[in-house]
Symmetry: C2
Subunit: 436 residues, 2 copies
C-alpha cells in the first residue's frame, strides 16, 4: 500500500493500537500539524472495563465498542489503518505490517496493550480463557451458559455439581467483578429458567494468591469487597494458587495443602503480559524489558536513545513518583497518550520535552447491584454510593453518546428486573468442541 506522502512541515505520526492510550494520543493530535495514522488489528475501540458485563450477558459487544473510523471520521489529519503490526525497523523508521507491507514514520507511538499471562503455563489458555477481547467475552458467555444447560441435561449428580462449579483465578478488579456478576447471573437472572437444577446453587470460587482481594485498594475496601462477595455466595480463597488445570478440574494449593475442584469452567483474571511488540521494541532499541514483558521508557515516555519512538499504556514500564512502575490501568494509558500528543506538538514548536506525571484520581471496582468500592483521592466509598459513582463514571467514559444511551437503558432494565437478556450461546460448535 502507498503510505501518505509527508510534506516537510507535516511529519508522519504512526500510532500502533486503538485502545485507551493510542486513541487518546490520536484525538489529542487533532490540531497538530502532523499526519496521524492509527493502526489497529480490529476496527473498533473497546471499552475493556465493561467486558465482564458482556461475558455475563448484561451488555452486547457493540454497546462497549465504537468503530475507530467513526471516532476520528471528522479529524482530517488522521487515517485509520486496519492491519496487524508484526515488527519494527527503527533505523529505517518503518513499522512492519502483515502481508509484507511497511509503513514509514517520523514519530512512532506504540500502545499495543497487554494480554493475559499464564506464568509460562500457556497450555492453560485453552482451558481457562481470560477476558481481553470481544471474542474472549462471547466465548466466556457461551461457556458459562452452556455449563448451566449441560447441568440441566445431565442425570449424574456429581457431573451436575461439577458443571455448576465456576472457578475464577485472580482477585483483582476483573476477578472480583466477574465473580460478582456471575453470582447475580446465577442467583437472579437465571432463577426461574431451569426445571431440574437450581442455578443459585452454583459454586463460584474466587482464587487469589495474595492475602486479600483488590490488594491495590485500601484494606478497609478489600474487607468490604470480601463481605459483599461472600454475601453473594462467592467462596473467596486467599493465599492459594492454581497448580494444575485440566478439562475436568482445577487444583489449588494453599496453606492448608492442595485441593482439586471438579469444574467445567475456569476463568483467568490472574495476570497480564505486555504485547510482544514491547519485547520487539526492546530488542530493536536496546531498551530494557521487565518480567511482565513491558519495555522501559524514559520519564518523557520514549525509548532510551530513541526520542522518536514512544511506548505507552500497559506495555510500557514507566516509573511513577514512588519509583515503582505505574499500574496497567486505563487512566495511566489515557494520560500518557495525551502527554505524548502534547510532546509531539511541542517539538514542532521547538519546545523541550516534559516528563510525564500521572495524576491518580483513584480507583474503583463494582461487586454487583448496589455494591462497589471506590477510592477517590483521600475519600473512600462503599456500597450504594460507590456503585452510583462507578455507574456514572463508566457511563461517561464510553466514547459514543449512542453507547451511553444503550448501556444506560440496559442497566436500568437490569436493575428493575434483575434480568440479563444478552445471554446468547453463540460461536460455532467446533470452537466449543472441548466442552462436549
Amino acid at each position: 500500500m502507498t503510505p501518505p506522502t509527508p510534506t516537510p512541515d507535516r511529519p508522519c505520526v504512526v500510532i500502533v493500537g486503538g485502545g485507551f492510550g493510542g486513541l487518546h494520543a490520536a484525538k489529542a493530535l487533532r490540531r497538530a500539524a502532523v499526519e496521524v495514522t492509527l493502526v489497529d488489528r480490529t476496527n473498533y475501540h473497546l471499552f475493556q472495563p465493561l467486558l465482564y458485563q458482556v461475558a455475563t450477558g448484561a451488555l452486547s459487544p457493540a454497546n462497549i465498542a465504537a468503530p475507530l473510523r467513526a471516532i476520528v471520521d471528522r479529524q482530517q489529519n488522521t487515517t485509520v489503518l486496519q492491519a496487524a503490526v508484526v515488527g519494527f525497523d527503527l533505523d529505517a523508521k518503518r513499522v512492519l505490517l502483515d502481508e509484507g507491507d511497511a509503513f514509514p514514520f517520523d514519530t512512532l507511538v506504540v500502545a499495543a496493550g497487554a494480554k493475559h499471562s499464564y506464568f509460562g503455563r500457556d497450555e492453560w489458555e485453552r482451558l481457562a480463557p481470560g477476558l481481553k477481547t470481544v471474542e474472549d467475552a462471547t466465548r466466556i458467555r457461551s461457556d458459562i451458559l452452556l455449563a448451566f444447560e449441560r447441568a440441566e441435561r445431565t442425570d449424574d449428580p456429581t457431573e451436575r455439581q461439577r458443571l455448576l462449579t465456576f472457578v475464577i483465578v485472580g482477585g483483582g478488579p476483573t476477578g472480583v467483578e466477574l465473580a460478582g456478576a456471575l453470582s447475580e447471573l446465577s442467583r437472579h437472572a437465571l432463577r426461574h429458567d431451569f426445571r431440574r437444577i437450581e442455578p443459585g446453587d452454583a459454586h463460584i470460587y474466587l482464587i487469589d494468591a495474595g492475602d486479600r482481594v483488590l490488594s491495590n485498594f485500601d484494606e478497609s475496601l478489600s474487607a468490604n469487597a470480601l463481605k459483599s462477595l461472600e454475601r453473594r455466595g462467592v467462596i473467596v480463597r486467599n493465599g492459594e494458587r492454581v497448580t494444575a488445570i485440566t478439562p475436568t478440574d482445577v487444583t489449588i494449593e494453599g496453606p492448608q495443602g492442595s485441593q482439586t475442584l471438579p469444574t467445567e469452567t475456569v476463568l483467568w483474571a490472574a495476570g497480564v503480559h505486555a504485547s510482544p511488540l514491547a519485547k520487539m521494541l526492546g530488542e530493536a532499541s536496546g531498551a530494557e524489558v521487565d518480567r511482565a514483558g513491558r519495555v522501559t521508557v524514559t520519564p518523557t515516555l520514549h525509548l532510551p536513545n530513541r526520542p522518536d519512538v514512544f511506548a505507552i499504556g500497559d506495555m510500557a514500564n514507566c516509573a511513577g513518583a514512588d519509583g515503582k512502575p505505574l499500574p496497567g490501568v486505563a487512566p495511566v494509558a489515557i494520560q500518557q497518550g495525551q502527554h505524548v500528543a502534547r510532546t509531539i506538538a511541542n517539538r514542532l514548536h521547538g519546545k523541550p520535552d516534559k516528563p510525564f506525571e500521572y495524576r491518580d484520581y483513584g480507583s474503583m471496582a463494582t461487586i454487583g447491584r448496589s455494591a462497589a468500592v471506590a477510592e477517590l483521592g483521600r475519600f473512600r466509598f462503599t456500597g450504594y454510593l460507590a456503585w452510583l459513582i462507578w455507574l456514572f463514571i463508566h457511563l461517561m467514559q464510553l466514547v459514543t453518546f449512542q453507547n451511553r444511551v444503550l448501556v444506560l437503558t440496559q442497566w436500568a432494565w437490569n436493575y428493575v428486573t434483575r434480568d440479563r437478556s444478552a445471554r446468547l450461546i453463540t460461536a460455532v460448535p467446533e470452537e466449543r468442541e472441548h466442552i462436549k
Copy 2:
C-alpha cells in the same frame, strides 16, 4: 437424561424448534393439561426478519434474540432443552437427540425451519453465505466491513473495485432488504470513514432470476421497490442467474449472455431448503417430501397416518386455499403453531381436529430509510407510510419489551445520524482465512 415422568392425564408434548412456529405452539399450550418440552439447538428465539440489520451493523444480535428459557420461565408446564435433534423413532414415540439421548413424546410438533439452499451447488455455501443464524449475520457483517477495509488498504485500482463490488443473489424480501441496507451503509454510515476510497462508489448488484423483484407482491409494488433500489444506486439484474462463484468473482447468465463480475463478497438470498428433519419425518412415516425438502402434511397439519406428529412452518408443505403450498413466512408458522396448540388442547376434551386456515394479513418489505412497500389486505402502501407501518409492526413483534426499547433507540439514532454503530469486525481470524 431422565425425561419428565408423564402422568396419564398429562401427555408429553415435545416441540422441536424454538422459531416462530415452535415458540408460538409452546406459548399457546400454557394453559393446556400437558407437559411441554421445547427442544432447540440454540438457547434463544431469533427474530429472523431483522437479521439483515445485524449483518449491516444497525443492530446487535442480542437485540433481536431472546433466551427461550426467559420467554417461558413462568410457564410451569414447559421445559426447555438445549439439544440437537438427530432423528425420530416414531413407532417407539421417541425423538433422538445428540449424545445418544432419546426423548419420549405422546404428541410431537416439529418446527425446525429451513436453511438456505444452493440448488445442489453446496460448494457455494462457503463463498456466498446466506442469512439464517446469528453466526451468519456476524460473519456477513465482518465480510462486508473487511471488504471496505481491504479496499482502503490496496494500491491496485482493479483490486479496489473488485473489493467494492457486492453481489446479492435473490430478489425476494431478504435480498431487497439486504441490498437497500448495504447501500445506506456505504453511502451514509461509512461516508466520512475512509481517506483513500469513496464507500459510496461501491457497486451493489442484486441478481434475480425472475422478471421482477419481490415477485410475491403486486406488480406496482415491485416497480416501486425497483425504483427505490435504483435511487439508492443498487444495480438490479432481473432474468439473470448465477452459474459460477469463485473466491474472486461470480458469473451470471441472462438474456444478454454471460458476464463475470469480479467481487469479494457474494451474499445468498436465493432460496431455502427445509431442515433435514423434514425428510427424516417423510422417511419414517411415508409422507411425501417435496422438491424444497418440505414434508407434506394434512389440512390439520399432522403427517398422514400419524395424527400424533405435526410438522409446521417452513419445513411443512401445507396447501393453502388456492391449493398451492403456503409460503415460508413467519405469519404462517405462527398461526400454524397456534393452530396445533389448539388441536392438542381440543383432543384432550375429545373434540375433533379442525383444518388449518391461513389468514393472510399481508406482506411487506423495507428498502431503506423512509422507503418500504406493504400489502395489507386490499390496501397497498409505498414510501414513508409503508415504512412507518413496517417499523411499527416489526417493533411490536419482537418478543421482549427490552428488545423493543433497544431496537427503537437504535433506529431513532440511526434515523437522525444515519450512523450504524454496531459495525464490528469480529470472528476469529482462522474463520476468515479464505478472505485474506
